[in-house]
Every structure is written in structure tokens, then in C-alpha cells.
Amino acid sequence: MRRNGPLALIFHGLFVVFMLAPLLIVCVVAFTPEGYLSLPTRGPSLRWFRAILDYPEFIRAFRDSLWLAALSSTIAIGLAVPAALAIARYRFPGREAITALFMSPLMVPHVVLGIAFLRFFTQIGISGSFVGLVLSHVIVVIPFALRLVLAASYGIDRRIEHAAVSLGAGTATVFRRVTLPLILPGVVSGWLLAAINSFDEVTMTVFIASPATVTLPVRMFLYIQDNIDPLIAAVSACLIAMTAILLFALDRLFGLDRLFVGSGKG
């Protein structure tokens, strides 16, 4: 393999700066001791991080976001595992169409989904409820769960299951003792990817959240619409730090390329 030349490395360096600059600036500004947006030239201060505690709505929104992510991705995995097994191993009429339907939330703009859910939930009388949030998030994260479970399911040699059957295992036992352990990596990474996408979702959620049930990204978005100050930078910095920690943990546990490469939206 040939090496990258100096020009290529300069290009790469600039690109890395471009990718990291907006995240770094948020973290730096969050440490300002001033009452307005500025770089902490007088030394770092934690005043804006302490100020978050005075805004319980951020804390509550964070808690609700975690619950929402956990619930919706768990339900999504519960629906995706049997569907993935069916798609991976059977040829049945409508198979292509059903797969496309399950993947469609990636294609439909989230604004449109938000509007559709807002209209639908208003009509059936669950608008602004946590149940509505969970249902809508299940839909948008199913493609992520399905794609990774599907990839894992395609990899299974069916003769392994046939071997288990020949040794006297019943359908349920085969699933529990053979199939599930084999697709487990796909299930776990599918759940994680679903949970992360649920946690970050803002475009659709902004339509169906209510003051009583609001997620952290929506809360932040609404705050920024009014004004941008060091407080929101501090909240964002916490989020970025959390994500960075999660990222390193995921990379150690699974390897990021396995989790994402070839699984970009589309």
C-alpha cells in the first residue's frame, strides 16, 4: 500500500479541524466566566455548568430522553428480530416490499413524519403524551435496529440450527440456545444504534413534544430559538462529553467500523 503524500496529509489535517472545530468551540465557550458569549480569556470557570442545576427543565428533559430512548429502542428490537429472521431466511411474496416499508422511515423526511404523527395523535386523542413520543420513536429507529439484526441473521449457517434440531431441540429451544446467541452482536449493536438515534432525534419530536413531555434536544432547540448564551453551550458541552465517552466505550466493545460502516442512512 502506498503512503499519503504531504498534500494529502495537509488536506486531511484541515478536514479534521473542520470536523472538530464546532464541537471544540462549544466546549471552550461553556467555560467562560463572563455573562455573555466569549472565550474564557480570564481563565476557565464552572459557573455555567452550575447554572444548569438551576434549570430543572434541562435535567427533566434529559431524564425523559433517556427513558424514551431505552423504551423505543427495546420495542423496536422486539419487532425487528422476528422480522429480520423472516426476511433473511424465507423467500415469500412481498418480501422486497415489506423490507422497503420497514426501511422507509429513513427516506421520509422527519418533518413530514412529525406532521403526520401530530395530525394522527391529535385525531386519536394522545397528542402531547409520552405514549405518543414512544410510538413515533419506535417507527424512526426500527430501520437502524432492523439493518444490524438483518446483517447478523444473513450470516447464520442454517445447518447449525438443523444440527440442533437433529439433536432433539424444539423450535423455542433452537431460538433461545442457538439462533439468539448467534445474532446477539447484531441485536445489541442494533439496540444501541436505535437508542442513540432516538436520543438525538429533534426534527420529528419538535412537532409532537408538549411542555409536559419534552426531550433534551427539543428543549435545547427551543432555547436556542430564543437566545444563545453560555448556558446552552454548557448543556451542549455536557452532551458532547457524554457522547465522547460513549463513543470510546463503543469502540472498545464493538469496534466502530463494524457498528457503522456500510450502515449509513440510505
Partner: protein, 288 residues
């Protein structure tokens, strides 16, 4: 027992639950939205379930809407082109790195995908503001005298969206680079081809499908982006999705908002499905 799982009914039993959820929560709500776009609305009477084409006529004839849709399209095209110009070389550079460096920089490229788009756009708002780092830097370097206007401009929105969406382009191109025969460059080299020729005649033609599928993803996501245009563009610089948002949550003219959303959906589906078909037909015989 009729409920026994057999090879024949298993696929339907297994996909059944998800299928029911999708019918109830995707097909029905989307259908209702399309229907809503044909309803009447008045400032005082609210939504009136009477069939009318007035929302659609308004969307198609009012130059205000035309301008917003054209802007959305322009931004999406610019973001896609920039993602190609920056993302393709970056993917190539990444592919030539040693595995250790590559996975380190993959973190840098994929990482931002996991950070809420609100936090990322906030970063660009801080950088691009009239007193932001970019303007301060350019002024102190003497490149410009007065701050450049990024906030509430298309340039600002495009920059923020490139940052948000370029990982998708890099991942798509990188995936197709990985499918290249690792010896293919050496093969071309041994036949007498130079650097530029190898790129133009050997590498590029093979990764075009990756670039195109990356472009479709980036274009679709840029055209339907909401948070970045809303924060950087503000109320002054509307795109299709922020327009629909305003109609729904500020003006409360839901039927008109529904018409805007339906048009956005239909346009995107036509463009993405159409270009997918085109790519498949063009490259069917070369790439299985």
C-alpha cells in the same frame, strides 16, 4: 393445529407485528396528512374537512413558496457537491492510512454523527456569528475588514449542513474503496499508468456508484434538514421544512403545512427513487 408455525406461514407470523405497527403508525398517519392537505382552513373557523384544492393552488402559484422550494433545492445541491469535493479525497486518504490511524480518524468522522445535531449547529452559530471565531480570525489576518455575514445566510446553512452530512458521503465512498482489489493500483502502475491516469481511469470509475449513492443520501437529508436551517437560517431564511414547521406551530394553518410537507415528500421520493433506478441501470452489467 392451524396456529402451528410452518415454513409457509412463518414469514407472515414473524413480520406480522412490525407490519401492523407500520400500517397503523406510518401508512395511516401519512394518508391522513395527504388528506389534510385537501381540507379548508380559516383564521377563525379552523380546519374544515371539506375537499378543496386551494392549498395546492397556493403552494404552486405563490412565488413565496416557489422561492423557498428553490432555496431548499439550491442548498441541497450545494451541500451535495461540497460533500463530493471534500468527502471523496478524504475517503481515499483514509483508505490509504495504516489501520491504527484509520480507526482513530474514523472516530473523528463518525463521532459527530452521534452528537445531537442541535449541539453541532450551536457550534457553527458560535463560529460563524459576526463576532465569532471565523470572522475574528479573518479580520486579524487582514483578509477582511468588516465581518462577513454567515448567520441567516445560505452560506452559513450550507457550511453547517456539510459538517452534519459529510460523514455519510465518506462512509459510502469508503465502502466502495474497500471493495477495490488492493492490487488494482499496482496493476495499472505496472502497465505504465501515472498517478493522475490511475485516478481518472481506474479508481474513479469504480467508486462512482459509491459517490452517487452517497450523493443521494446527502441530498435527501440536506433537502429535508430542519434543525440546522432553523438555527443558522432563523425565521428570515426559510427552507421547506422550516416553512412547514411555521405553518403548523405558528400560523396554525395545518392544511397548508400538510400540502408543503406532502410536496416535499413526493419530490424527494421521486428524486431519490429516480436516481437510484438510473444508477442501477447504468452499472448493472459492471457491478453485480
Amino acid at each position: 393445529m392451524s396456529l402451528a408455525v410452518t415454513e409457509r406461514n412463518a414469514p407472515f407470523l414473524l413480520t406480522g407485528p412490525a407490519l401492523l405497527v407500520f400500517l397503523g403508525l406510518v401508512i395511516v398517519p401519512l394518508g391522513m396528512t395527504v388528506l389534510l392537505s385537501f381540507y379548508d382552513w380559516g383564521q377563525y373557523k379552523g380546519i374544515v374537512p371539506e375537499f378543496t384544492l386551494k392549498n395546492w393552488i397556493e403552494v404552486f402559484t405563490d412565488s413565496y413558496f416557489f422561492e423557498i422550494f428553490m432555496r431548499t433545492f439550491r442548498i441541497a445541491i450545494l451541500v451535495t457537491l461540497a460533500a463530493i469535493v471534500i468527502g471523496v479525497p478524504e475517503a481515499y486518504i483514509l483508505n490509504r492510512m495504516s489501520p491504527a490511524w484509520r480507526s482513530a480518524f474514523l472516530l473523528v468522522i463518525i463521532g459527530p454523527l452521534l452528537v445531537s445535531v442541535v449541539a453541532r449547529t450551536l457550534g457553527w452559530a458560535l463560529l460563524l456569528g459576526s463576532t465569532g471565531l471565523v470572522n475574528q480570525g479573518l479580520i486579524s489576518l487582514g483578509v477582511i475588514a468588516t465581518p462577513l455575514e454567515f448567520m441567516f445566510t445560505e452560506t452559513g446553512v450550507v457550511i453547517a449542513l456539510i459538517h452534519v452530512l459529510i460523514p455519510f458521503m465518506i462512509l459510502a465512498v469508503w465502502a466502495s474503496l474497500q471493495r477495490l482489489d488492493p492490487q488494482i493500483e499496482n496493476a495499472a502502475l505496472s502497465l505504465g499508468a501515472g498517478r493522475v491516469t490511475i485516478w481518472r481511469r481506474v479508481i474513479l470509475p469504480q467508486i462512482v456508484p459509491g459517490i452517487l449513492s452517497g450523493s443521494i443520501i446527502v441530498f435527501a437529508l440536506a433537502a429535508s434538514a430542519f434543525a440546522s436551517p432553523a438555527i443558522i437560517g432563523g425565521r428570515r431564511l426559510k427552507v421547506a421544512s422550516t416553512l412547514a414547521y411555521d405553518e403548523f406551530l405558528n400560523t396554525l394553518n395545518w392544511p397548508l403545512g400538510a400540502a408543503v410537507a406532502t410536496l416535499l415528500l413526493v419530490a424527494l421520493v421521486l428524486i431519490t427513487v429516480g436516481s437510484n433506478r438510473l444508477i442501477e441501470r447504468r452499472y448493472a452489467q459492471v457491478f453485480e
